[in-house]
């Protein structure tokens, strides 16, 4: 099975975010970055499918030069090779523009399966995989919690709301968006890290893939959300704050 995993590099989860000077994105030059968490699960799923059925795992990433760190980590975990669509400024693209570039790069590989995380931790649009499928004319399924082969196709477990699930059978090639928690993430081994240095990273530019499309939607402004509730902040040392909270729970909320 030839599997492409589309991964994204995002700021690490605990980043202190500041709004950039143009007011349309964050200031990201002083942040640390990591693989988007759902994409890490998609990569793990691809590696497990390869271990079961043989084949190849190709990591595909659209991002600036710094994203090569995340790509190397994917190679260290076991991806066979990678494609890096190198582009410094992603703010000029919307989901459709990004999905078209990824689709174009994936198409040339003729994969059996394309996996990606169900959404990104930064933009959170949750559409890249679905739009890639549509652009490529492939069937897709989202929020996937299990993947197994079934005849010439696959059977996947979709997560629905409120604890419901549904199994869906579909032909290959197909695109799946993977839910966090589908599997247990592995760590890169020392051997894996060593091997990653010799693995191929093919670099392509946006221009080589047909150039940027005019975005259909643009971010006008980024801002801090307004509080909807009057939060009483309880300050002081841990002990003082705890004592204040217990007093509130006892005399205002009356549950103690």
């Amino acid at each position: 099975m030839k599997i492409i995993v589309s991964i994204k590099q995002v700021p690490v989860r605990d980043s202190q975010l500041r709004i950039g000077s143009n007011g349309r994105w964050i200031q990201d030059n002083d942040l640390s970055f990591e693989i988007n968490e759902p994409d890490a699960y998609a990569l793990e799923e691809a590696l497990q499918l390869k271990e079961k059925h043989g084949g190849e795992v190709i990591a595909l990433c659209l991002g600036p030069a710094r994203a090569s760190q995340t790509i190397r980590e994917a190679l260290a975990k076991g991806a066979d090779r990678a494609i890096h669509i190198e582009e410094e400024d992603l703010t000029a693209f919307d989901t459709l523009g990004i999905a078209k570039l990824l689709a174009k790069a994936a198409e040339a590989e003729k994969p059996d399966l394309i996996l990606t995380g169900l959404q990104s931790d930064d933009l959170g649009a949750g559409q890249t995989g679905v739009v890639m499928a549509e652009v490529l004319g492939l069937p897709s399924a989202t929020i996937i919690m299990a993947v197994e082969t079934a005849g010439a196709g696959i059977r996947v477990k979709r997560e629905l709301e409120d604890g419901w699930f549904q199994n869906v059978q579909m032909p290959l090639p197909a695109v799946l968006t993977i839910q966090s928690g589908i599997n247990k993430l592995r760590y890169a081994t020392l051997m894996g890290i060593k091997k990653a240095k010799t693995k191929e990273i093919k670099r392509v530019t946006v221009a080589e893939l047909g150039g940027p499309a005019a975005p259909a939607a643009t971010i006008e402004r980024v801002y801090l959300p307004q509080r909807t509730k009057q939060t009483q902040m309880l300050d002081g040392s841990a002990k003082e704050a705890a004592a204040k909270l217990v007093e509130k729970l006892k005399f205002e909320v009356r549950v103690i």
């Binding site: 975010l17 989901t95 459709l96 931790d121 933009l123 959170g124 949750g126 559409q127 679905v130 739009v131 499928a133 549509e134 069937p139 897709s140 399924a141 989202t142 929020i143 979709r158 997560e159 629905l160 709301e161 409120d162 419901w164 699930f165 549904q166 199994n167 869906v168 059978q169 579909m170 032909p171 966090s180 928690g181 975005p215 259909a216 939607a217 643009t218 971010i219 006008e220 980024v222 801002y223 801090l224 959300p225 509080r227 909807t228 509730k229 939060t231 902040m233 309880l234 300050d235 841990a238 002990k239 704050a241 705890a242 909270l245 217990v246 509130k248 729970l249 909320v253 549950v255 103690i256």
Partner: protein, 326 residues
């Protein structure tokens, strides 16, 4: 038509209640841009549902009826909605931001060379065009997103962002729409939805819930919050990542993929407050948040907040609770 079209969601003849919130959003948006609002419901034999919609203040109700829309598939729903939108030419199409919508609505938008502005929490009108607000970075920041290019424009609406009780009643004309669907268009074969197992833990019955998130760092630290739950006589719950990691069983998960709770007190310990978690607990009467990051979105819904290290605050809290109870 050139108005707002709201695509409702139903399964087996029962509405997804987020549909009503989205319909209210659609009415408000239509009023502000000086256009009409219509609604569509797709499925197999949706006449009764369409008639129910006809009692709302809408221009038209489209009953998108076809045998192949009985069990949901992305292929059939995408094709049917594409055909309806081409026929009726709305300027804006709104969906509730459900798991099903996430599965097919981006495809519909793509067929019009558009993107779905997903999970929106509000809008303002700039001239005669809407600008949608949505969250970034799991709720840490908001963004205003402006649709561009030729209509139709597409957006989905977050649970709880609009209130269904603000829906305007009225009368609407029901129009049947039979899409041109063929079995060979549908590539996926869906099986019946199922629940994993009977839930052994019913969090919805608890008066007090102590819920733990990523801030707990390691499985070995879970007893720290367990002790707080015990002291308060509370149920222990968790955000999704804790259950994903197997630190607590899935049945203790609160959020869009877990249980929805509304206890007297919900104490969120080390939970940042991503929207997937908030939808499961924001109905609690009193929300307490303990988090080291003062910008964590959980503080936006909290009644009481403590910014601090949970490994110091929680043990102190256990002591104070025990003292207060003795």
């Amino acid at each position: 038509m050139s108005g707002v079209l709201v695509v409702m969601e139903q399964r087996g003849g029962a509405w997804n209640r987020m549909s009503w919130e989205t319909l209210a959003a659609g009415q408000q948006l239509a009023a502000q841009i000086g256009a009409s609002a219509s609604a569509a419901v797709a499925g197999n034999s949706v006449g009764a549902l369409a008639n129910e919609l006809a009692s709302k203040a809408l221009d038209k109700v489209f009953a998108v009826d076809h045998q192949l829309l009985g069990a949901y598939t992305a292929d059939a729903y995408t094709a049917a909605l594409e055909q309806l939108i081409r026929r009726t030419s709305p300027s804006i199409v709104l969906f509730p931001h459900t798991y099903q919508v996430r599965d097919f609505a981006p495809k519909v938008a793509t067929r019009f060379g558009q993107v779905l502005i997903s999970d929106t929490i509000g809008f303002r009108v700039d001239g005669d065009a809407p600008v949608f607000a949505r969250q970034l970075f799991q709720g840490k920041l908001n963004a205003d997103v402006k649709p561009g290019g030729p209509a139709p424009h597409f957006a989905s609406v977050q649970a709880g962002a609009f209130r269904a009780d603000q829906l305007q009643n009225g009368t609407a004309l029901v129009e049947n729409f039979t899409p041109d669907l063929k079995p060979e268009m549908i590539r996926a074969k869906p099986e019946d939805p199922f629940r994993e197992s009977a839930r052994a833990v019913d969090l919805t019955a608890a008066d007090i819930i102590v819920s733990v998130g990523r801030g707990i760092k390691e499985k070995e630290n879970i007893p720290i919050v367990e002790e707080l739950a015990k002291a308060l006589g509370a149920e222990l719950a968790a955000s999704r990542p804790i259950c994903d990691s197997g630190w607590l069983p899935m049945e203790r998960q609160v959020g869009s993929s877990g249980q929805t709770v509304s206890p007297k007190v919900y104490m969120a310990v080390g939970i940042s407050g991503a929207i997937q978690h908030l939808v499961g607990m924001k109905g609690a009467k009193t929300i307490v948040a303990i988090n080291k990051d003062s910008n964590a979105p959980i503080f936006e819904v909290a009644d009481y907040g403590i910014v601090g290290d949970l490994f110091e605050v929680v043990p102190a809290l256990v002591e104070e609770v025990k003292k207060a109870k003795s």
